[in-house]
C-alpha cells in the first residue's frame, strides 16, 4: 500500500462509517417523527406534526415529567456518592487507584440486565432488606420496596454510578494540588477551598458525569420494567413500546427526537462550561 492508499483508506472508512451509521440514521429518525404512521410500512407520507402534538397529551406528558424527575434524582444521588468517592480514589497511590477503578468495571461483565434482576432479590418482599428489617424487629410486615419509584432510582443509581465516577476521577487527576496548598497556606478554610477551587476546576467532570447518568437514565426501560412495575414507566418504555409493540414509529421517533433535543441543550451547556474552564473541547477533551 502506498501513502495515498493507506491514507485514503483510513479517511474514507471514517467518513463512510460515521455517515452511514450515525449521520444518516439520525436524519432518518428526525424525518420519521414528522411522517404518518402506517401499520404495514411503518412510516409513510404525508408529513404531519400529529406525533409531536401527541407528546403533549396528559398521559405522555406525565411519563415525560416522571422520567425527568427520576433521572434528575438519580443524577443527584450519583453525584453525591460519586464525587467524594472519585476524590478519594484519585488521591490514592497508583496501584490502589488502578485496582479500585478496575473493580468499578468488573460488574459490567455480568450484563446490567442480569444485575438488575438480582436487585429484585434484595428489594423484594422476601428479599434481603426486608429479611433484615423483619429479623431485627424494626418492622412487623415487609415493606413494599419493589415496584416503587424508590426501586427504580435504586436500580438506576446502581447501573449508572460508574459513569459518574470515571469522568470525575479523570477530572480530579488534572486538579493541580499545589493550588490547594497555596490556598491553605494563605489561610483559606476547607469550605472555601472546596467552593472556590475544587468545584470550579472539576466542573467539566461534574457536567460530563451528570450527562452520562442523566441521559441514559431516561431510556433504561429494563430497569423500570423489572423494578418499577407498570406504574413507574420511563421515557424508554414508551419509546420501546411505540417501536416494538404498537409499531407507531413516527410517535416513537418524536419521543426520541425530544430526548435528542434535551441532550443537545445539555451538551451546549457542557461546552459553554468547558470553554470557560480550559478553552478546549470536542475530541481533545479528556474529561470524558
Amino acid at each position: 500500500m502506498n501513502l495515498l492508499n493507506f491514507r485514503r483508506f483510513a479517511i474514507v472508512l471514517t467518513l463512510v462509517w460515521l455517515g452511514l451509521f450515525v449521520l444518516v440514521p439520525h436524519v432518518l429518525v428526525l424525518l420519521t417523527s414528522v411522517m404518518s404512521p402506517d401499520a404495514q410500512h411503518l412510516a409513510v407520507w404525508p408529513l404531519t406534526l400529529n406525533s409531536w402534538e401527541r407528546l403533549f397529551e396528559p398521559v405522555y406528558a406525565e411519563v415525560f415529567w416522571r422520567s425527568l424527575w427520576l433521572s434528575t434524582l438519580t443524577t443527584v444521588i450519583c453525584l453525591v456518592l460519586g464525587y467524594p468517592f472519585a476524590y478519594i480514589v484519585a488521591k490514592l497511590p497508583n496501584v490502589w487507584r488502578g485496582v479500585l477503578l478496575f473493580l468499578m468495571i468488573v460488574p459490567f461483565w455480568t450484563n446490567s440486565l442480569i444485575r438488575t434482576y438480582a436487585i429484585k432479590l434484595i428489594l423484594g418482599n422476601k428479599g434481603l432488606v426486608n429479611a433484615a428489617l423483619l429479623g431485627t424487629g424494626v418492622v412487623d410486615e415487609p415493606l413494599q420496596l419493589l415496584y416503587t419509584p424508590f426501586a427504580v432510582v435504586f436500580g438506576l443509581v446502581y447501573v449508572l454510578l460508574p459513569f459518574m465516577v470515571l469522568p470525575l476521577v479523570s477530572s480530579f487527576d488534572k486538579l493541580d494540588s499545589t493550588l490547594l496548598e497555596a490556598a491553605q497556606d494563605l489561610g483559606a478554610s476547607f469550605w472555601a477551598r472546596f467552593r472556590l477551587i475544587i468545584v470550579p476546576l472539576t466542573m467539566p467532570g461534574i457536567i460530563a458525569g451528570s450527562l452520562m447518568v442523566f441521559l441514559p437514565a431516561m431510556g433504561m426501560f429494563y430497569v423500570a420494567d423489572l423494578l418499577g412495575g407498570a406504574k413507574n414507566l420511563l421515557l424508554g418504555n414508551i419509546i420501546k413500546n411505540q417501536f416494538l409493540v404498537v409499531r407507531d414509529w413516527p410517535f416513537g421517533a418524536a419521543f426520541s427526537v425530544a430526548l435528542i433535543v434535551i441532550m443537545a441543550g445539555l451538551l451546549w451547556l457542557y461546552f459553554l462550561a468547558n470553554r470557560r474552564i480550559n478553552r478546549q473541547g470536542g475530541l481533545d477533551d479528556e474529561s470524558l
Partner: protein, 254 residues
C-alpha cells in the same frame, strides 16, 4: 478521617457487588427462589447445560462481544489515526459524530440503528447486531487511541517519513507498537460495553440470532430461573480470565 474514607469506599463497593454476590451464591444454592440458603448444588449448572436456547444465546453474546470489540478496535484505530494525522474535508463533522455516538442515550442510538437497518433492507439478526455494537464502541476506542497518539514524539514519525518509509510502514513499525497499550485498553472497553448492552441489542436483533439479554429478559419477566445466576457467574469468570490473560500478555510484551 482515614477510617471514614475506607468505610465509604467499602460501602460503595458493597452496593455495587451485593447483587453480583447474590447471583454467584445463588448459582450454587439448592433453593430455586434464592431467598434462603438450602444447601450446595451443581444442579443449575447441569440445567443450564441442557437449556440449549440459553447456552446458544450465551455463546452468541460472547461471539458478538469479541467480534465487535475486535472490529471496533481496528476501525477505531484507523479513525483515530485519520483524525490525528491527516487533514481531510468534513473532519470536524466526523469528530462531532463520534461525540454524538458517545453522548447519545442508548435508547436513541437503538432507534437510529433500527431505522437505518430497515431503510437499507438489512435483516435484523447477526449482522445488524454486529454493526450496531461496532458503532457504539467506536468513540471509546478512538478517544483512547487518540490520547495515546497525542502523547508520543512526532519527530519519530517525521524522521521515518524523511527516510522514505511509506505510510503503511510507519503505521506498522512505529505507530502500532507505540499505541498498542491503548489498543488493548480500547478492545477491553469495547468488549465490556458490548457484553453489558441491553437496550441497543433489544432493538437491532431478530429471532434468527438471539443473545443473552433478550433471552434473559423474557425469562425473568415470567418467573425465576436459577440458570440465569449460573450464566452471570460464568460470564464473570470468563471475563476475568480474559482480562488476566491480556494483562499477562501485555506484561510479557514490555
Amino acid at each position: 478521617m482515614k477510617a471514614f474514607k475506607w468505610s465509604f469506599i467499602i460501602a460503595i463497593f458493597a452496593y455495587l457487588y451485593l447483587p453480583i454476590g447474590i447471583l454467584v451464591i445463588n448459582s450454587f444454592n439448592a433453593s430455586k427462589y434464592g431467598y434462603e440458603w438450602k444447601g450446595f448444588t451443581f444442579e443449575w449448572y447441569a440445567k443450564l447445560w441442557e437449556n440449549e436456547a440459553l447456552t446458544q444465546a450465551f455463546l452468541n453474546s460472547l461471539l458478538v462481544a469479541s467480534l465487535a470489540a475486535t472490529a471496533a478496535t481496528l476501525i477505531g484505530t484507523l479513525m483515530a489515526l485519520a483524525l490525528h494525522r491527516y487533514r481531510f474535508p468534513l473532519k470536524a463533522t466526523a469528530s462531532s459524530l463520534l461525540f454524538i455516538v458517545m453522548m447519545s442515550p442508548d435508547i436513541v442510538l437503538a432507534i437510529t440503528f433500527l431505522v437505518i437497518f430497515i431503510a437499507l433492507g438489512i435483516q435484523l439478526g447477526f449482522w445488524s447486531l454486529l454493526i450496531a455494537h461496532i458503532t457504539f464502541c467506536l468513540p471509546f476506542v478512538v478517544i483512547t487511541v487518540y490520547a495515546q497518539l497525542k502523547g508520543f514524539d512526532k519527530y519519530l514519525l517525521e524522521a521515518a517519513q524523511d527516510l522514505g518509509a511509506s505510510e503503511s510502514r510507519i503505521f506498522r513499525l512505529i505507530i502500532l507498537p507505540l499505541v498498542f497499550p491503548a489498543i488493548v485498553a480500547g478492545w477491553l472497553l469495547s468488549f465490556t460495553l458490548s457484553l453489558d448492552d441491553v437496550i441497543i441489542s433489544s432493538f437491532v436483533t431478530g429471532p434468527s440470532f438471539e443473545i443473552l439479554p433478550i433471552r434473559v429478559f423474557s425469562m425473568v419477566k415470567v418467573g425465576v430461573s436459577p440458570e440465569v445466576n449460573v450464566l452471570a457467574t460464568l460470564l464473570l469468570a470468563i471475563s476475568l480470565f480474559l482480562v488476566t490473560l491480556s494483562t499477562l500478555l501485555l506484561r510479557r510484551k514490555h
